[in-house]
Symmetry: C2
């Protein structure tokens, strides 16, 4: 089995298919479907690190709806979301890194959800270095035998007292 790129407390199979996530129990799950979703997440991490837009977009359904860390409220359809990724990578000079942690995968036969924390690092063209933790949730459908991401939600918490993003939080 190849090494998983996802680090930290991975959802682990237990007994008859129940699974634990940081001491909490999700039961019962579909182990093979969970492995398939894990492979999709791995592919996404590799593609993101390589700044490979076609490989990144290959995990998504044409009608994906995404809620990203930055405005607008939503991106509807793969073309709008591709543009969002392109703008993101364009803002960075050199390598971009992402690390997933504490990933949970809740999988059925044809619908699945993955969620966890993600750390983004890179150097903006402005010279500023970014390094912060965010949260992600992704929903998948199995369409014609292939899992496709139909919905992404990525965010950083905000402090209402100051109106500012909380970019210094750590797991």
């Amino acid at each position: 089995m190849r090494r998983l790129l996802i680090t930290g407390a991975i959802l682990t199979a237990m007994g008859g298919g129940a699974a634990t996530y940081n001491g909490l129990t999700f039961a019962p799950a579909h182990a093979s479907e969970r492995d398939e979703i894990r492979q999709v997440l791995d592919r996404w991490v590799e593609a993101f690190r390589a700044r490979d837009i076609p490989a990144v977009m290959s995990i998504y359904a044409p009608d994906v709806v995404a809620y990203d860390i930055t405005p607008p409220l939503r991106f509807r359809g793969i073309d709008a979301y591709r543009k969002d990724y392109e703008d993101y990578f364009d803002a960075y000079d050199g390598p971009v890194d992402v690390e997933l942690r504490d990933v949970a995968i809740v999988a059925g036969k044809d619908v699945a959800v993955a969620f966890g924390l993600e750390r983004f690092k890179g150097k903006l063209k402005s010279g500023d270095v970014t390094d912060f933790w965010a949260r992600f949730t992704s929903a998948f459908r199995k369409i014609d035998g292939k899992w496709l991401d139909v919905h992404d939600h990525d965010s950083v918490p905000i402090d209402f007292a100051t109106g500012r993003a909380s970019l210094d939080l750590k797991p």
Copy 2:
């Protein structure tokens, strides 16, 4: 059939179970499971407007993991999440309102995801009136014949140029 509290472009059934969401097609879906999830969302909206914490919490699994609009990065388990809701309601003087819009429900037999936009309105004890749009994603498992929310993700986009939350966005 009682009136749905959810407003706006609801996911609608089409042909053999395919469904559209703002002109995009999700196919094929489980219609009865989708209706069950819609009823859970309705119960949540009613409970939220009534500031009824036990009714709000009745939709969640004991091991729910929530990513909320405000810090920390995550709430693990129903007790932590209940405290988050209590703190939220405590900050408001009088009624709180929530409206869901453009809700999509992707349902399988035992795993489902709902996502959409949500508008929060209320008067803080400080006297400030809040009125903003956020995004929500919720994941559900059918456990012992009952759908339970195992994961919530709620957020507002942030503007990286200013480090501020974007609270003035509209659908």
